[in-house]
Subunit: 337 residues, 2 copies
Amino acid sequence: MTANRQVILTARPHGIPEASHFAIVESPLPEVAAGQLLVRNLFLSVEPAMRGWVNATANYSEPVALGTVMRSFATGRVEASRHPDFKRGDVVTGLFGWQEYAAVSPDAGVRRVTDLDLPLSTSLGILGLNGLTAYAGLLEVGRPQPGQAVVVSTAAGAVGSAVGQIARLKGCRAVGIAGGPAKAAVCLSEFGFDAAVDYKSGDLDASLAAACPSGVDVYFDNTAGSISDAVMRRLNVGARVVVCGTASVSSWDPPPQGPRVERVLLTKRASMTGFLALDYEHKRAEAVRFLSDRIRDGSLRYREEILDGLDAAPGAIARLYRGENMGKLLVRLTEAA
Amino acid sequence: MTANRQVILTARPHGIPEASHFAIVESPLPEVAAGQLLVRNLFLSVEPAMRGWVNATANYSEPVALGTVMRSFATGRVEASRHPDFKRGDVVTGLFGWQEYAAVSPDAGVRRVTDLDLPLSTSLGILGLNGLTAYAGLLEVGRPQPGQAVVVSTAAGAVGSAVGQIARLKGCRAVGIAGGPAKAAVCLSEFGFDAAVDYKSGDLDASLAAACPSGVDVYFDNTAGSISDAVMRRLNVGARVVVCGTASVSSWDPPPQGPRVERVLLTKRASMTGFLALDYEHKRAEAVRFLSDRIRDGSLRYREEILDGLDAAPGAIARLYRGENMGKLLVRLTEAA
């Protein structure tokens, strides 16, 4: 019988998870209990939040236990179904883990992939959690008004590029902050930002001032750190900061020091709000409809970087944090494996 | 003719304004133009925001110019009126400055004091900007739900004591943070807080943990600094931080360093929002009605510390920042002066 190759967490990282914190093992195919599905994974997600999932400190989900399969969103095909609503061949997405096969109960957040005319990989990126993050974070928390300036960090990434494009579609001025000239160029040429700032080049304060001549009304923050410090100095009265990620900070234990924000929040009557996409499941259908329609009509673009084979997974989180990828990072498992 | 004694800003402080930054001068009584009132001040306000008004850095209002009368809220009696809606003897409150007499136009934010059965001094404290600050900051930005834990810093002060009492009146658990055993005791005995923490005594983290066994849902922050850092570590999911003042920080130029807040905001999906009472003028009538009714029925208490004579004004802001006063700090000018 076919074995199930799995990526197991073997050591708890302090900071960024590296390949050395994982091992690949072969296990028997899982038992499929009554009411469950056996899913064969086709795409595994790699995302910044995984750092939080494997660190021991309290977070918005329990840490992945040592010796268990790495938690991950994945999209796969139903190989066998013991549930009346699903049949062999259905495409589903959910928390199936970094492994080839998963036995899952549909009520554990399994969703059917509906937009089958678009690449299945989109179910983990622009039509998955990344798209929901950009859509709900920007529109529900950032609440941009037409004509306002929206700044987003990691702007060439999966979430950032969607934030900038949604901002433009809503009539805002979109300014992207990205690392390196190639990523800044892609923000302009591919994602249609009004301005792009390469934070690795020159004086970030001066570049931001030039890119945001009327200040910043919404800041969608994926990085924290010195990039955010520079944006905070340019907030307008009533500005909203959506705290979505902290990619630039390698460890929060203890929290690093930075300039206190109280005074700028007070004088600008601005807000900083932590945002977790999973709190906005009720917006998912609306987000997927909005985004998929605009992919089809060509007004919304996305990039993916796809690594091949389960062996690529363990080192992929660190790759993300080194900023080597452009767009959504995925691992593809071949069905013929 | 009577002279007008005035407190003039003579030097721009870096940090807390001291008596040495001001001088007292005698000027002629101001001319009263058509449409204006001549107001004789009875009470002058002293408040933490004055630090911001006299510092040169951009703020929510223009800095007080050197050589001009110190900006201040004040309450006084109309001595002469060239406006049809006001007559001699009316009691009015507004930005009349630290001086004995002011010639003002009613459309420059002059309000009639209506609750004349209560001491006139309340128009500058619990029924003035302090009351509006507590009421609107807590209810509009903090949005506490019955049963939730509301923590407030400078809890024995004019704003803090009102925040705690309003929280209790709305069915919340009120926890006050104050400096020294006397202030902490007053929070319990006079203002009815459920718990009070003396931040100057012992381990603030441990005291807060004991005072907030179920965490913190709303933090009304009047201090920033290490007091706030300790509260931030105890935020619940969905907590709201109302950034109202930064009393513990002596200078923001440059901003002091502190632990970065992004991670706690993210994992707790919490918010920090800068609050300025002057943005909530539309809530003033509601706030004054709520607060004055509860002063009359005995369910709301307030403290005032009244300094006598204009000569006491220049040193009063520093006194506030040294935490020497308890309750609203005012300067009283005698009508017979």
